[in-house]
Every structure is written in C-alpha cells, then in structure tokens.
C-alpha cells in the first residue's frame, strides 16, 4: 500500500511505462535504504510485489504467502489440509500397472534409484545376541498356511472369473503375515506390538516437474505436474518407532535416474480431478505412524502365464518393481508428511520401509529409503538427494503343491 502511494507521487514521464516507473520507484528507496538502515528503525514498510496483479512477481508473492501459511500451520492436519485442499487435474498413478517399462517411468516420477539386491547390512552388530532363527518352524508355518488355503480348506463353489489367484492368495498372505509376525516377535519385540492392517488404503499426492499447458484458457502458462497414488496393500505392518536407515541421508548413488523425454501421458497415464488425499493407513493421531512392511498381492491380470502369452516375459520383473517403487514411495512419503515434512521442508531423517510383492507363488522383496520429498521444480533445483529402492529378483516360494 505504501508502495502504491509512492508510485502515485512519482511523476510519470511520457516515455516511461508503469512498470519502469515502478522499477524506478522500487530502486529509489533501495538506494536510500542503506542510509535508512543505518538507523535502527526502518522508516518505510518493505516494498513487496503486488498481491493481486496479473504479474509474475505477484504470482510469486502469492505462492510464497501460501508456502508461509503451510510453514506456519500449527498441526500436521492443518498442513496437509492446506497442501491438498485445492483440486486440479492430476495424473493417477497405479502401482499395479500393465504399462510397459513402468518401473523406469515411476523412477522418474518419484526420483528413485533402483539397486538390485538387498541393502547393505548395518555396520554395528545387533546389541543383544538374538535367539537363533528357527527356519524350520518358519518353513512349517508357511507350509501350513499354503496348504490350508490351497488344499485343506473346502471352499464353496468356484472362485469368480479371473480371480482365482486372489481368492486363494489373499487369505494365504493374511495367514502368512500373522504367523510370521508371531514367530519372529521373539527376535524383534517391536513386531509383537506392531499394528497389522488388512487392505487399508494408502494415498499420496505430490508434485513433480512442470509442463506448458497445451490448451484451455491457461494455454501457454507453466503448470506443475501433479500425481496421486491410491494404493491398497493386502497387509501392512505399522510401528511406533521408525526403522533405522540403511544408508546415510545424503548417500550419493552414481546411477542416474532414467529421464523420459515424453509427457507421462505416453505411459499411459491419465488425468483426473478428485480429492487429494495423503494417508498411511490410519490418521495422524495414531501412535503407530511409521511403516515397517507392506505386502502386495498381484491380481490375476498380471499372472505369469498371461504375460508370457502376451510375449511380455521381460515385463514380469517390471510389474513387481513398478508396484514396489510406487507403493513404497507413497507410503514413505505419506509417513514423512505425517511428521510435518513437505517439499519445501525436506526430510531431516530418512524414512525407511520394506515391501514384499507376490503373485501367490513368486515373491520379491524390496526396501525403500526416502531421502527427499523436494520433488517440485522449485525445491529440486539444488537437491542432490535421491530416494533409493533395493529389490530382489522373483523367488518362487514353492515348486509345486502335490495334492493327496
């Protein structure tokens, strides 16, 4: 307001436009500024860009005001509300997708580096000698779960069409997770106290990259790309204590993240506008706000025989990897946002979670470490951190179930 008043006082020459006059007006007090700053009290209010003008400076000021509002929010719920309340068209990312080479695309969307194999074991040994892992008991429990679902339990009628794997695989996974949690709680007492969710949704909303709007009343303007993941893992284990990091926060991986030269629409990825949600499986008030492991079951659409029939043998691994990257990024990102971090307030500690993706017979194990949430163009300018995902190949759980 003072600036506006000042502009009116400045006489505008015939050749000067409003902008230059404003610039002159802006620079003039700055020259006087140092002289004025010498005095302890500034005599004039700060000169800032307009708030409602149709200018880049005004837009920048509005963006900064919104970001300041998020920074100043008192509770995490309020922060999430401010970040997600405006709905715009966004890409809906499906972790379980038939798209070819989806894992490379998803790495680009989530700034993730994929490393095969499992992460390096922690440097220090375990503080207390843990009891020996009773592999035989674990194997017996797994066999019992498998046989119960595949053979012993008499089900009524045939499973619905194209859902045979899910009808057997989903209860099998439930039983397996429950059994393993019970047996392994001797080694990890935190597992005994962990929360187990069955088929609870996990949502995450983030911005990454920019595009020029091709058509519409905002044509030609730069707009951020928004993504939303709505995932439903078969089971997930949540704990009240965070898992320790695998590698330091600023660990630099020499591998480059794949860069795709076309728009995400080519994946195919489609835009929709609906509620932006960020959800780890339970609300912010839950003390069990850190994730441990997720278990995903691939539907019949992605079973091996079907992919082989479509000549997509190389896509079998891709399906598992894409599912793990997307789901675990969404989960760890949501966990980080529950702690108050967001793209302008990057994480100060890495968020770590694990995942197991299976189609009933073949299992793949993944570990994910979220090092950065700053994925927007503005925040990613000088951000060397990358998220890391370790993953194994498909390991078959059993060779064959012999009936009778």
């Amino acid at each position: 307001m003072a600036a506006a008043r000042y502009w009116r006082l400045v006489p505008r020459g015939p050749g000067l436009s409003l902008h230059t006059a404003a610039a002159a007006a802006v620079t003039a007090p700055e020259m006087i500024g140092p002289a004025v700053a010498a005095a302890p009290v500034a005599r004039y209010p700060p000169i800032v860009a307009s708030l409602k003008a149709k200018s880049k400076a005004a837009r920048q000021r509005r963006v900064e005001r919104w970001q300041a509002m998020v920074h100043a929010a008192e509770s995490v719920d309020e922060k999430l509300r401010i970040l997600t309340k405006m709905q715009f068209m966004k890409y809906v990312v499906y972790p379980q997708t038939f798209a070819l080479n989806a894992d490379r695309w998803y790495q680009g969307f989530t700034k993730t580096v994929f490393l095969s194999g499992l992460p390096p074991p922690p440097a220090e040994p375990a503080p207390a000698p843990a009891p020996a892992l009773d592999l035989a008991a674990l194997r017996a429990a797994a066999c019992d779960c498998l046989l119960q679902e595949h053979f012993f339990l008499r089900r009524k009628g045939r499973p619905p069409l194209y859902r045979e794997y899910e009808t057997i695989g989903s209860p099998f996974l439930d039983q397996l997770v429950a059994a393993l949690m019970g047996l392994l709680s001797a080694h990890n007492p935190a597992l005994a106290a962990a929360a187990l969710d069955c088929k609870r949704p996990v949502h995450f909303y983030w911005l990454r990259g920019e595009e020029i709007i091709p058509c519409g009343h905002r044509k030609g303007r730069v707009d951020a790309l928004r993504y939303q993941i709505n995932d439903k893992p078969n089971n997930q284990i949540r704990m009240s204590k965070q898992l320790p990091e695998f590698v330091p926060l600023d660990y630099s991986v020499p591998i480059e993240i794949p860069v795709m030269n076309c728009k995400p629409d080519k994946l195919p990825l489609f835009k929709r506008q609906y509620e932006n949600t960020i959800f780890i499986g339970s609300k912010t008030a839950d003390p069990y706000c850190y994730g441990h492991t997720q278990f995903h079951l691939l539907p019949d659409k992605f079973k091996r025989e079907r992919l082989l029939k479509k000549n997509c043998a190389d896509q079998i691994e891709v399906v598992f990897r894409a599912n793990a990257i997307a789901s675990l990024f969404a989960w760890t990102g949501a966990q980080a946002m529950y702690q108050g971090f967001w793209s302008e307030a990057d994480v100060t500690r890495p968020f770590v979670s694990q995942g197991v993706v299976t189609d009933g017979k073949y299992f793949s194990f993944f570990c994910y470490q979220l090092n950065t949430l700053a994925l927007t163009t503005q925040a990613d300018k000088n951000n060397p951190r990358k998220n890391i995902c370790w993953g194994t190949q498909n390991i078959d759980c059993y060779v064959k179930i012999c009936l009778g």
Binding site: Q148, F152, S185, A186, A193, L196, T277, D286, P287, Y288
Partner: protein
C-alpha cells in the same frame, strides 16, 4: 368367450378358483405359471385321434407341411445334447438325486430364531449356565495374563477402529467391526512370547460346515459358513467335571409350546446328510478352538439382535463340536468320555457375546439323559460411546473426539479384553473366551440417539431452541434462527449434524424455511388475529 384367451379363459372356465376369497389375490399356484407376458403360448390341444385307442393317427409329419384333414403330429421333446449354463433347468424337486421324503430343518447363518437362546438350547439339548466358567474367569484374574499398558493399548485399538483407520470422518460398521476384532486378536497374539502355544493356531475364513442330527423325530442340520474359525493343534480340555455332566441328567429342557422348535429354520427336502467339518483329512490344525461372528451390517434391522446372535453362536459352535466328535469317535450316538469344547465370540463392534459349549453327548434324539453344557456371557460392552466428531454447543467445542468408557464398572474394560486374550491364549485352557476388556457400554443410549438424528434435524433444532413462543411462530422463528452449529446432539447424532454444515443441506434448509414461511405466514396471521 372368444375374446378371452389363455389365463383369462382358464379363469372363466373355472370360476370357483378365481381369486382367493374373491378379493383378486393370486392363486397359490400362480407363480408356477410364470409371468404372463413372457409365458410361452400353450400348445394347441391334441387331436381326438390320439385319444381313441387302437387307431393309428396319420399325421402330416412326413409331408413337412400342414395338411388339412391329417392329424397334427406330436413330437418327442427335443434334447439339444448339451446344456447352456445360463438356461439350465433344474429337474423338479422330486426328481433331484438328493431328494428325501423326510423334511430336514436347516439352520444357516441368516436364520433368526424366534425364541432365540431357548430354542437353540432345545435344539442342541443343552443346559445354559449364565456367566463364563470359573476356569476361564480364573485366567482372567491371573495377573500373569495381563498385557502391559493394556488399557492404553485397548483404547488405541478402539480409536483406530472407530476413527483412525479410514479417510472418512466416521467409518461405517462394515469396516470398523472387522478391524476391531482383528486388532484385538492381534493384541492377544502379541503375548506369544509369554505363551508360545499361541503359535499353534491358525485362522480360517470361509470354511463350510455341515452336520445333521436327530432331535425327537426331527431331522436338524447346521449348514453354511459364518465368519472366521480359529483352529488349534490340540483340543480344548473339558471344563465341567464328570459329576457336573452327570448332574445335567436331572435338568429338564425348556419348551416353548405352542411355538414349534423348528420355527425360523429352513425346511427342505433336498439335502445331504454327510458331515463336513470344512477341512480335508490330514489337516494339521483339526480342532476347532473359537468361532468369530461379526454383525457388520450398517443398518440395525439387518443386524442380528443379541439374543438371535447368541442362538446362532450356540448352534454353530454345536455344529462344529458335533462334526468334530463324529470325526473322532464315530457316528454312533453315545455319551462322550472326552467332551468336545468349542468357544465362540460374537460382536457387532461394540457389544460382545462370549460362549463356551461343551458337547457331552451325541445322543440327541431323546430329551432325557446327559445334556450338553453352554456357558454364555452376554452383552459385554467394550465401550459405551464413541464420539467421532467434536460435540459443538452454541459454537463452542464442548467435547472433542473421545471414547466414553463404562463409568459403572471400571474394571470391566480390562476384563472384557482379558476374556478375549484368555480365549486365544492357551489351547489347553478354556480361556479361549474372548474376554475383551469390558468395553464400556453406553451403546443403548447411543443407539437411541442414533435413531433420533435420522428424523428431521429441523425438528431437533426447533426443539432445542429455548423460545417461549408457542406454536407455529416458534417453529418458524427457530428455523430462521437455527444455527448450523447449535444442535444439541452428540455422538452419532453429531454425525447427523453434518447435513447442516454441508452446502447442499444448507440450501435445502433455506428452501424449506422459505416454504414454511409461506405456509405458516397465513397461519401466523390467523393466530394473531384470533388472539
């Protein structure tokens, strides 16, 4: 007469059967005919040649076209040689392979018995004992079985199920009921370090049970799948001693004449008498331990009443026990030396029912002799009320999201949970009863309140306004002045407050206000003039 055709003609031809009592109601066999518009036209009547014996009718079948003077050929019904699954017609009931003359009364998971527990006890020849057995309660009291931070963890479980586990503001019962049961079981399983026998159990969903037994010339059957079943490697030990079992000989089963004991059971003539535990031979966890029954319907009429739920629990536990007994000891009817014990937990997310059934005898045909024993602990509330949204009175938050525990019996909460823990603890102990820490029960009030908001919130608003003016004027003024945030309701009623806060509802309220004003204005004027 020529104008009438088909069923109308039939109706005219047999006027005596036209409508039941002449009121136009359809005849009993009406639905056998099928819908008139899609009914196939009746075939024309056969020629009289076919009725005259000894005559060989000459038909135009060979000529492949109609010929006046020749008889209409009668062809055998065409058999296509294959059946399309969509158009497969089942043979009539009398010709089905499993048809039997004796009717069987089947109890399935949606049977709501009229006489509830009494009827279930008669059907299973059992004696009811209120309260859980002392052995179980002893395990409840045992401090070794307590979980650390039990109250806090149970409160977390309840909050998680009722509020946190879903993105909605108020999760529905269909989601929160299974979540609460699973979380409590998970909490019990967390004691696996103290009680390693918890590892010798496995849960099975969607199992199919089928057992048949005779009861005073009635053939009864329990069939179907209902909820989850916890199986164990070792059987539960018997609870009642031999003497108590012998003492049941003197007990007389309660009858409820004139109501038949088979009321609300499904009567059918096509059934299979084979017993089926739901699992094949060689199953490593053959003994049923606990059954879980969840009433998850959102609407109260769709849920079972507590008495009906208890009856269902008794019958399914009995069915499981009977199938197990027959598997172990054969099909002969006798008094069991090693009684079979099965436990059961039924809930609708807040009210819990616990049950222990001990099958002492498979001789169920007569009313005398040893009876089976049933211990029931009914209507245990885990919590009394749960507010999902803050209660706002006059724009001031009076109560935040909170759970109201039982204020009367402060120790019931841990007990209820203990029961659940106990039930899942040791297979060798009958603790299996789920003693969930007494969830405080204030549900009854909540149920009532829940019904209230479904009525017009406008009336509630009007009622809440402390306006001295009577009649229509009062209603109008209170409607105009009604504050979206002021309704004086809590709990589930608070959920119904939402309509006022939503823009569509405020629009509707505004519209109603306008309508009411236009309607009531003349009344107001009348009132004022008459005064």
């Amino acid at each position: 007469m020529a104008l009438a055709s088909g069923p109308a003609r039939r109706a005219l031809a047999r006027p005596g059967r036209l409508g039941l009592g002449g009121c136009g109601a359809p005849r009993r066999g009406a639905y056998e005919w099928g819908v008139r518009s899609t009914r196939k036209p009746e075939p024309p009547p056969r020629d009289r040649v076919y009725e005259i014996p000894g005559l060989e009718p000459i038909t135009y079948a060979g000529k492949m076209h109609f010929m006046p003077g020749l008889a209409r050929p009668v062809f055998p019904p065409w058999d296509p040689g294959w059946t399309h699954p969509k158009f497969r017609r089942l043979p009539p009931i009398h010709e089905q392979p499993l048809y039997k003359d004796q009717a069987c009364y089947v109890f399935h998971q949606r049977c709501r018995l009229l006489e509830g527990v009494k009827q279930a006890l008669w059907l299973t020849k059992a004696k009811l004992i209120e309260g859980l057995p002392k052995k179980v309660l002893g395990l409840v009291e045992d401090p070794r079985n307590h979980i650390e931070n039990q109250d806090e963890r149970v409160l977390n479980v309840i909050s998680h199920a009722r509020l946190w586990h879903s993105t909605e503001d108020i999760p529905k019962r269909e989601t929160y009921c299974p979540v609460i049961v699973d979380s409590l079981i998970q909490l019990c399983k967390s004691q696996i370090l103290k009680h390693p026998s918890l590892a010798k159990r496995i849960c099975a969903q969607n199992y199919r049970l089928s057992t048949t037994w005779n009861r005073e010339s009635l053939l009864l059957q329990v069939r179907g799948s209902s909820g989850a079943r916890l199986n164990a490697k070792d059987p539960l030990p018997p609870i009642a001693s031999r003497e108590e079992v012998e003492a049941t000989k003197n007990h007389v089963l309660e009858t409820f004449y004139p109501i038949s004991p088979t009321i609300d059971l499904q009567e059918c003539n096509v059934y299979d008498v084979e017993d089926d535990t739901g699992f094949r031979e060689g199953y490593p966890y053959p003994y049923p331990h606990t059954l879980y029954f969840l009433e998850t319907a959102n609407l109260r009429p769709h849920r079972f009443q507590p008495d009906q739920l208890r009856a269902k629990m008794i019958l399914f536990a009995f069915g499981n026990a009977l199938a197990q007994a027959r598997l172990l000891y054969g099909n002969d009817t006798k008094v069991l030396e090693q009684p079979v014990v099965v436990q059961s937990v039924g809930t609708d997310g807040r009210v819990f029912q616990f049950l222990v059934l001990q099958l002492n005898t498979t001789d169920l045909a007569s009313n005398e002799g040893v009876k089976n024993l049933v211990w029931v602990d009914s209507d245990q509330l885990l919590y009394q009320h749960f507010w999902c949204l803050p209660v706002v009175k006059k724009k001031v938050v009076v109560k935040n999201e909170d759970i109201l525990a039982n204020t009367d019996k402060t120790s019931e909460c841990p007990q209820l949970f203990e029961m659940r823990l106990v039930s899942s603890l040791q297979p060798t102990f009958p603790e299996g009863h789920c003693n969930s820490p007494g969830k405080r029960q204030e549900e009854p009030t909540r149920e009532e309140k829940a019904d209230a908001p479904t009525q017009s919130s406008i009336l509630l608003c009007a009622g809440n306004k402390n306006c001295g003016q009577p009649g229509a004027l009062h209603l109008v003024i209170s409607l105009i002045n009604s504050d979206p945030c002021s309704p004086n309701i809590s709990g589930r009623a608070a959920e119904k407050r939402c309509p006022f806060n939503k823009t569509l509802s405020t629009y509707i309220v505004h519209k109603l206000q306008c309508i009411i004003i236009t309607f009531f204005f003349p009344l107001l004027i009348q009132n004022q003039t008459t005064r």
